[in-house]
């Protein structure tokens, strides 16, 4: 559950989006990464930073979420709550995937200019900051239970998609 008041939706406003974005940009620089992504556990991309034009970001988000879901399933089979960090080593590029507050997925792609140790260190710090913003998202959701664009949707709006 991401939003305590609206269990079936996660609403991200401009302010928190920008804060996520600036943490990702800082992580990108501090970890000497090529690209970083922030994804929700259901596979939607929240934001990214770095050389994203070379990536199919939508597919990457979906597969990262699938990866976390599958390893989470494996973890529970051996009595672990979760595997909070995944690391995939390639010939050229590597991928570090970690969970933030068991709700968001932080993906860092890096090459030989960086190292797994440095990435882990920087990710830990970024994860704490992302967690703080996530709390702010929750608090905003509690305050603004109603009144967004969704509540104003009419059936005519929905029908207009299919004309």
């Amino acid at each position: 559950m991401v939003s305590p008041m609206n269990q079936n939706r996660f609403i991200l406003h401009e302010k928190e989006y920008n804060e996520f974005q600036s943490i990702l940009k800082k992580l990108l620089i501090d970890a000497y990464a090529k690209v970083v992504f922030l994804v929700d556990k259901n596979g939607s991309l929240l934001t990214s930073a770095g050389e994203t034009e070379d990536f199919d970001t939508t597919s990457l988000a979906s597969l990262a979420a699938g990866n976390i879901a599958a390893t989470g399933g494996l973890a529970s089979l051996i009595g672990e709550k979760e595997f909070s960090i995944l690391f995939h080593e390639g010939q050229r590029d590597n991928m570090h995937i970690s969970l933030v507050d068991n709700r968001l997925i932080l993906v860092v792609v890096f090459d030989g200019r960086s190292s797994i140790g440095l990435v882990r260190l920087r990710v830990r710090r970024a994860g704490e900051e992302l967690g703080r913003i996530l709390k702010a998202v929750d608090e905003t959701a509690e305050r603004e239970e109603e009144g967004g664009v969704i509540e104003e949707l009419t059936e005519a709006d929905i029908e207009s998609l299919f004309k």
């Binding site: 991401v2 609206n6 269990q7 079936n8 939706r9 996660f10 609403i11 991200l12 406003h13 401009e14 989006y17 920008n18 929700d40 556990k41 259901n42 596979g43 939607s44 929240l46 199919d56 939508t58 597919s59 979906s62 597969l63 699938g66 879901a69 599958a70 989470g72 399933g73 109603e146 967004g148 664009v149 969704i150 509540e151 104003e152 949707l153 059936e155 709006d157 929905i158 029908e159 207009s160 998609l161 299919f162």
Partner: protein
């Protein structure tokens, strides 16, 4: 769980195609992929076995246009239909906003349809959903085969909630977009209502 991004002005929702093995879930997504304007859909990802049976999921992101200045994007997933992949099916249902249950119209597959439908209800409950309230449409696929069950038989077997139902021949595209539109409408109406 839908994701509404006010910064990029996007609404993202997750739709899962569920049903017994070989009922045509992947075929639905393949048809949508082939027929949609490439600008309105992303790549289709299939995590399948060497014999092209779905191993984990298929994934296809599609855009359906704007509502009140918000782009609407739907992430379409299929589950593996074979009975022994139940752990994977449960994972894929996480965060789902709407379900298409794809039934196989062949008379010989009625038990498989029922077993898969019961499995859907169990897995939804395990993920914290009420199977009687989640947006759901039924697709009766393979209407072109011999020895098929009538729509009223399928209705009696599966449609106790009286949700929208569509006849389809997914490999030629009959009923595929009607089904997709049906579930998208229900998902958006549910989103507007604000929860399950």
């Amino acid at each position: 769980m839908s994701f509404i991004n006010y910064s990029s002005r996007e609404i993202n929702c997750k739709i899962v195609y569920y049903g017994p093995g070989l009922c045509g879930k992947t075929t639905n997504l393949q048809y949508i992929f082939r027929r949609m304007n490439p600008g309105d859909r992303g790549k289709m990802i299939s995590l399948a076995t060497e014999t092209e049976r779905t191993l984990f999921f298929d994934f296809l992101p599609v855009s359906m246009g704007e509502i009140r200045g918000f782009k609407t994007r739907f992430h379409l997933y299929t589950v593996p239909g074979q009975v022994f992949y139940d752990a994977s099916r449960r994972l894929i249902l996480r965060g789902v906003d709407g379900v298409v249950f794809c039934a196989d119209s062949q008379i010989t597959r009625m038990d498989a349809n029922l077993e898969s439908f019961d499995n859907l209800r169990i897995n939804l409950r395990e993920q914290g959903y009420d199977p009687d309230r989640i947006p759901l449409v039924l697709q009766y696929n393979k209407r072109d085969v011999n020895s098929l069950a009538s729509v009223s038989e399928l209705h009696a077997l599966l449609n106790y909630r009286n949700v929208p139902e569509f006849e389809a021949v997914a490999n030629t595209g009959v009923g595929v977009f009607e089904t997709l539109k049906g579930i998208i409408k229900l998902v958006l109406i549910d989103l507007k209502k604000g929860g399950r």
